[in-house]
Amino acid sequence: MKLARFKAATIAVLLALVGCGPAPIDPSRQVGPNPYLPPIHQYLLPPMHVAKVVGWNGATPSVPAGLKVQAFAIGLANPRSLYVLPNGDVLVVETGVPPGPVSRPKELVMNWVEKRAHSRTKPGQRILLFRDTDGDGVPDQETVFIDHLNSPFGVVLVGNDLYVANTDAVIRYPYTAGQTRITDPGVKLCDLPGGPIDHHWTKSLTASPDGSELYAGVGSNSNITENGIQAEAGRASIWQIDRATGAHREYATGLRNPNGLQFEPQTHTLWAVINERDELGPDLVPDYLTSVRDGAFYDWPYSYYGQHIDPRVQPQRPDLVAKAIAPDYALSSHVAPLGLVFYSGINLPAHYRGGAFVGEHGSWDRAVLNGYKVVYIPFVDGRPSGPPEDVVTGFLVDGDKARGRPVGLAVDGKGGLLIADDTGNSVWRVSSASP
């Protein structure tokens, strides 16, 4: 008895030493404009906790009453982002992480963990086109639209120019309505920061409402400058790229990993979802949704959520910390938002109109998993007006097994919400349950 108690105490002390850290808080305390920020906890051993991938095996995600969900496409190779062309054709970007150097032993372990958290299918490096010719919402034609890309992610069409953001460049292709395959090699508009180190490699892309400028999200080259500050040139930034000349300037900086660049349709303001830093505890730092102000410096790497200093960054820059602005709307910690779409369609019930859907890829370093779902955030007058609500769930089963993980979002020509699921190798379509 005494021995058992001694053993239990020893295990407790060891666990504390090895740094499983504080118990995670309820994520609902960290959503909205003023998230609760606990004290920093630096681990001895980061609590790597990724969901074991089990696949869908015929199951589908869950949606609330009034909505239905269908498989739009299955059997894909790591679909991560989506784009809907004006004629209703849906582009699905199959993509994966580019190879990179290993600079310290930790990365060997991290690469192995990341591999386990994703599908075993070798990612495609291409864009597929899906067409629904009979109007039932699900496609009946599929073609390879553009092949042999370099870890592509963002896609945007302006007039007859189709832009694809590879991890290292924005490429322009000529496109005519109805086209199902592009064989033209394309023309490089602008280089983007790529390898050899390419830590956050997904380059999100959108165009200004008047079509004159492109905006590209360029994520940081590290968690928190551990690859050296010199590796961060032009990164943790949203680039504004002149469509005519390819010249760029940094529109906003200090955004660790911005994705889902979208203009809010009512106010024509640029918004993005940002993946915040890891390894400061299960509840730091909350990922967020924010409007992006021209010329603003947010916080990365020197501080978080405004002026909260990150002790891991040396030398510090008090001048930049003083300028740092807090973002608009927290999504809670480590949910990994990678997709954002404003819903201006009319298929979904009125409740879902005017606000934003966010695809949360899900946590890897939190004892209790967070994210792994698509949430809806209501907007009034171009600003978030309430807490996020779960819309598409069921990506997790039995608490810690993943059937899939949501990434990019889009609204199709009929107003259905499309969700790229890279781990489940599927695209899901959510629409109104009543026809």
Partner: protein, 153 residues
């Protein structure tokens, strides 16, 4: 025939394995202190990365050096009777445990992977190694542990 000197149990062709391997972790852990100090002074990540590799290599070789040493300690009662052997053994095991924690601290990202906890542990390990090294040399050069009798004796 029992030789007059305490014998090493784990040896290759009469050469004690522990003595062959133990320089590698010692060099790695001493070099870790140096690269930690340089990182502390420069904040250039190259040095912190170097520390992480040095710690890992030191620990991996220790996985072989430590058991060889422990088996030698228990393999000959004459070694167990030496005070220097216990200081050497317990000290080195302590240094090894501290280095495991140090290795974990060095998996953190950027500055706090070294300053201050990593740097303190690296320095502590080197201080311990000075004491255990002193006693280890005594084992071989004063007590002749693992040294074969020469003809003259």
């Amino acid at each position: 025939m029992l030789s007059a000197n305490p014998r090493s149990t784990v040896s290759l062709g009469g050469r004690p394995l522990h003595a062959m391997l133990v320089p590698i972790p010692i060099v790695c852990f001493v070099a870790t202190l140096i690269t930690d100090i340089v990182y502390w002074q420069t904040a250039a990540m190259l040095w912190a990365d170097m520390s992480a590799w040095l710690l890992l290599v030191g620990l991996i070789v220790s996985l072989f050096a430590a058991p060889a040493g422990i088996i030698d300690l228990f393999g000959d009662p004459r070694i167990r009777k030496l005070r220097a052997a216990w200081i050497h053994g317990i000290g080195n095991v302590t240094a090894l445990i501290l280095s495991i924690f140090n290795c974990l601290i060095h998996t953190r990202d950027a500055y706090t992977s070294v300053v201050p906890s990593g740097l303190i542990l690296s320095a502590l390990v080197v201080v311990i190694l000075l004491v255990t090294g002193w006693n280890g040399w005594a084992l071989v050069y004063r007590h002749g542990v693992g040294v074969r009798q020469t003809e003259q004796q």
